[in-house]
Symmetry: C2
Subunit: 168 residues, 2 copies
């Protein structure tokens, strides 16, 4: 397969993949483009390569920076800004986990904590089922939380090595 074609496919699939995970298609595509670009790119280059507007590039880049996935670079003597993505996929993954945990899991755990104590007869089957469901989700969430923290802190080799070794 030719590089140009492969690039196209990768960027477009990565965008579609992102959509399924609640990530803006363009944001995923910009990230994909930066992941496969050896050098930093300018807004104009991104606009051109993905055929999207300046405003769109600007907003999505800003989000990607907020996710800690993209960095702004300036070349001394130039006014223009360049953008790069960290190419270490393990770091990319842990960064995404870190952010989603902070943005989604943490607030959810907080909510569950508030919903744990319900007024009324503990024997009532509605109350019982509600409380048990909340408790169950909270427990799973807590475990996930610890597992993800472990991943965030771990080195890829150490983590994957240790965990997958459990198989044997």
């Amino acid at each position: 397969m030719k590089l140009t074609e492969a690039k196209q496919q990768f960027i477009s699939s990565w965008g579609a993949f992102g959509t399924q995970w609640g990530i803006n298609r363009t944001m995923a595509q910009i990230h994909a483009l930066l992941l496969i670009s050896p050098d930093a790119l300018t807004q104009d280059e991104i606009m051109e390569q993905l055929s999207i507007s300046r405003g769109n590039v600007n907003m999505n880049i800003r989000d990607l920076i907020g996710w800690g996935l993209v960095e702004r670079q300036t070349v001394s003597g130039e006014r223009k800004e360049y953008f790069t993505a960290d190419k270490d996929i393990w770091k990319v993954a842990t960064q995404i986990i870190k952010e989603r945990k902070k943005r989604e899991l943490d607030p959810m755990m907080k909510l569950l904590g508030q919903l744990e104590n319900i007024e009324g007869d503990k024997k009532d089957k509605d109350i019982k089922q509600f409380t048990e469901t909340i408790k169950g989700i909270k427990k799973l969430g807590g475990n996930a939380d610890r597992l993800l923290d472990l991943m965030i802190k771990a080195e890829e080799n150490w983590f994957m090595g240790s965990v997958l070794k459990i198989f044997k």
Copy 2:
């Protein structure tokens, strides 16, 4: 907190949570409702409790069944259909993992396999970066795949126990 209020909050937050993960808000809400309902519910009860249309309930229930998260029940002598969700949260989680893996990770791995071999000079920096990025994602995907398979097959206690023990 009163049960009615807590239910409302849980359902609405679960819906919002789902949205962020690329899951239809209503589908997540129906699932939440069934998770906290001790008895199976009919389409009409779901319509009423969530204030949504019959068509909406029907389609999302169908999807939930497709995800293996909800079951159809019939009571002998009655024409009506009842729906329940498995209340075991670990099973719910593994079922979701299983489905997402099948629907998303597997196709992605297949695509990456196709993008691995690019025609042209292996020394060219564009080709090099592209190939390395693809390789990196593929490796991470493979590890995730094995880890998730492990989770799917494991008992909660065994899995969480073994993995989290690595800490110590």
